[in-house]
């Protein structure tokens, strides 16, 4: 069986450091292309939005580039990582930002009584450890969209999915074999 490898686009942004995800995909032998415009987005089989930095700056960047509706109407597999996941929600407390509104819910700051940022290897429901670095956390309105949780001063949301939109609070590009497996799984979803 010779299935053509999908071409994954990484959405470049002014604010985020997209290098790690790109390196990870290349290391895994997944075809990857950096994309910036609607046309470039339309030409790839799936899209990863690593998103780093602050929510407000990232949304402003998307708006200025006219990508808000492009992402909202995206129909192929989409993976938001960390801030890229948080931006899928209605709003974020970080800089009181209105986000993409693709998944119902909001993003709140981690409470004072836990280690913040939540940084390091934490245990997913499956028992596998994944690498987290974040200070804000997603609170989906519909719990059915939550696909993974993790313990950090209570169960917090570690991953979501709604239709073709996937979000990961942890970093697959830094999570060892589990992260590699996630990225390969995402690529196979894009075929």
């Amino acid at each position: 069986m010779n299935i053509p490898s999908p071409l994954i686009g990484i959405l470049q942004s002014k604010t985020g450091n997209t290098g790690s995800v790109e390196r990870a995909l290349r290391r895994l032998g997944i075809s990857v292309r950096m994309v910036r415009t609607a046309d470039e987005i339309a030409a790839v089989d799936g899209l990863i939005f690593p998103g780093a930095g602050a929510a407000n700056a990232a949304m402003t960047d998307l708006r200025e580039r006219g990508l808000v509706d492009v992402l909202r109407n995206y129909r192929r597999p989409f993976l938001g990582i960390c801030l890229g996941m948080q931006l899928l929600f209605d709003s974020s407390e970080e800089g009181k930002t209105k986000c993409l509104g693709i998944i119902r819910g909001r993003v709140t700051e981690l409470p004072e009584n836990v280690m913040k940022p939540h940084m390091g290897w934490n245990r997913l429901d499956s028992g596998a450890y994944a690498y987290f670095v974040h200070s804000y956390v997603c609170e989906p309105a519909d719990l059915r969209t939550v696909t993974m949780t993790v313990e950090h001063g209570g169960r917090i949301c570690a991953a979501v999915r709604k239709a073709n939109f996937l979000g990961l609070q942890w970093h697959p590009e830094k999570s060892g074999p589990v992260g590699d497996c996630y990225l390969l799984s995402f690529a196979s979803l894009c075929r």
């Binding site: 290391r27 940022p117 940084m119 290897w121 499956s126 690498y131 060892g176 590699d180 497996c181």
Partner: protein, 504 residues
């Protein structure tokens, strides 16, 4: 205890098979929706829907998601039959299924199942294991997978699955009572899995027996089709015990203790000495980094110990090569004098940047770097030596005494923006005499960020002591790993034996 009515559909009709035999079919009408409504009205919170035609042929049919779409308006639906790909599963979940039920696929393409668990979530996937005489059958019970039940459950667990539905074929449709001993044994052996029982349930007494053996949910087919009031009577009698949510053991674990090999780099080579001197060559940094990542290191720290201005480009080049080669985070330190230096390192692919001497001379550097990179990416490295009743901060690789109290400096560094502290005991470095746990504990007492213990890791127990007595969040060592005294995994095993969470 949750009772899950089973609805098996064959060519549009609701049917029951005796022991999975397609020649022994009993029909129960052709309106699954009406049946689901009746079950819902009797108190059922979810139903178990199987497309028997697809299970038999092994070809997923799009009529299943269509049916799920209709039924899931009435109640939760877990659905299966002929699922062979990620797309099949996604179609069912998007149609409204609360979970998809897979069987044959687990044996044929475990990698796809593993992917599905990651992409769609552990709760969304149920592995159905149909057992006959201890062996699991597949393809609508017509072929043997060759696997014993235990092996099949382990395989499911390896794929990340936490929910299994175990049907005893010998009991199914035969009304000779469920195999409660089987379920009790499984629950004991796999305490973190949800075991759904199925097969042979005749009456309330059978359900009670299962509940007493600890089973949380049970799929009931024929008994409910023949006697729908059974559901009502059970739920009426046991309303208090009915739970809409899966009750699984929630484990508190928190963050894993990280084990971090440290690579001191000089002119492109890894070196190691004692008390910051007497350097020996320990290999190529990229090769070592790859090896440690494969051996299970949680993170790497590179310290450029000869950092000079003309060496900066070499360092950026190294960072970029390491970033290409490893799938874990790494920190780079040594010679960082400005936020621009730090930014360049992050841009080259480093995850975190550590500052040491420069921050002691100019503490606001930490504010600048934290502002630029974020606290999480800003590490303050502190070299400390015992002095009087406390510890003093050393700079320039241990050559100068900054005459600052190390604990006070740690507090200030965090207040200025350090998201992590890398604390090295100069007295212990390279000696293998164990970490300075007093130093670590004193700092941990004052700060609310992770502390990496460094300097002195020699015996396995010293790593455990750093965590137990020093309350370190991570342990770092160089020589013991470079010169194969023991491996990252050895350290993790010792930590785990002492009940500390580690990523294995």
């Amino acid at each position: 205890m949750q009772i899950i009515p089973a609805i098996d559909v064959l060519n549009g009709k609701v049917v029951r098979l005796r022991q999975g035999d397609f020649a022994r079919i009993t029909e129960y009408g052709d309106d699954p929706l009406a049946l689901v409504k009746a079950y819902r009205n009797s108190g059922a919170l979810r139903v178990h829907l199987v497309d028997l035609s697809a299970a038999k042929s092994g070809r997923f049919s799009e009529s299943l998601p269509a049916l799920v779409r209709a039924l899931s308006r009435e109640t939760e639906v877990q659905a299966g039959g002929g699922i062979r790909s990620l797309k099949d599963m996604q179609m069912l979940l998007d149609a409204g299924a609360s979970a998809v039920v897979i069987g044959t696929l687990l044996f044929r393409e475990p990698a796809v199942v593993r992917s599905a668990v990651l992409l769609f979530g552990e709760r969304s996937i149920i592995a159905a294991l149909d057992v006959e005489d201890g062996k699991v059958k597949i393809n609508g019970w017509r072929r043997s997978s060759g696997a014993s039940l235990l092996r099949a459950v382990r395989l499911a667990r390896e794929c990340g699955i936490l929910r299994i539905l175990v049907t005893d074929i010998c009991r199914d449709g035969m009304e000779n009572g469920p195999n409660d001993a089987l379920y009790a044994a499984l629950m004991k052996q796999f305490p973190d899995m949800e075991i759904i029982a199925s097969g042979g349930i005749r009456n309330l007494q059978d359900i009670r027996t299962l509940r007493e053996s600890g089973v949380q949910s049970v799929v009931v087919g024929k008994a409910l089709l023949e006697n729908p009031s059974l559901l009502m009577s059970f739920i009426d009698a046991r309303r208090g015990l009915l739970s809409s949510n899966v009750s699984r053991i929630e484990r508190y674990d928190g963050l894993a203790i990280r084990v971090i090999p440290c690579l001191d780099v000089m002119r492109g080579r890894v070196v190691k000495g004692t008390c910051f001197a007497d350097l020996r060559d320990a290999g190529d940094p990229v090769e070592l980094a790859k090896r440690y990542a494969e051996e299970g290191a949680d993170e790497l720290v590179f310290l450029d110990i000869t950092a000079t201005s003309d060496g900066r480009k070499t360092v950026l080049d190294l960072v970029s090569k390491v970033a290409d080669a490893v799938n874990i985070p790494f920190t780079i330190g040594g010679g960082v004098r400005s936020a621009d230096d730090a930014h360049a390192l992050l841009g080259a692919g480093a995850d975190k940047v550590a500052v040491n001497s420069a921050a002691v001379g100019n503490p606001s550097l930490l504010n600048d770097i934290a502002k630029e990179l974020g606290r999480a990416n800003t590490v303050c490295a502190i070299d400390a030596r015992r002095k009087g009743g406390g510890w003093t901060v050393l700079t320039r690789g241990g050559r100068d005494d900054a005459c600052m109290d190390a604990v006070v400096w740690a507090e200030e560094a965090v207040a200025r923006g350090a998201g992590e502290l890398l604390v090295t005991s100069f007295d212990r470095d390279g000696t293998g005499r164990g970490f300075d746990t007093d130093l670590l504990a004193c700092i941990k007492e004052k700060v609310f960020v992770p502390v990496i213990a460094s300097g002195g890791g020699g015996e396995l127990r010293s790593f455990v002591d750093a965590v137990r007595f020093g309350r370190a969040d991570a342990v770092l060592a160089a020589s013991v790993f470079h010169f194969d005294r023991f491996s990252v995994r050895d350290v993790k095993n010792s930590l785990r034996t002492s009940s500390f969470p580690v990523r294995l």
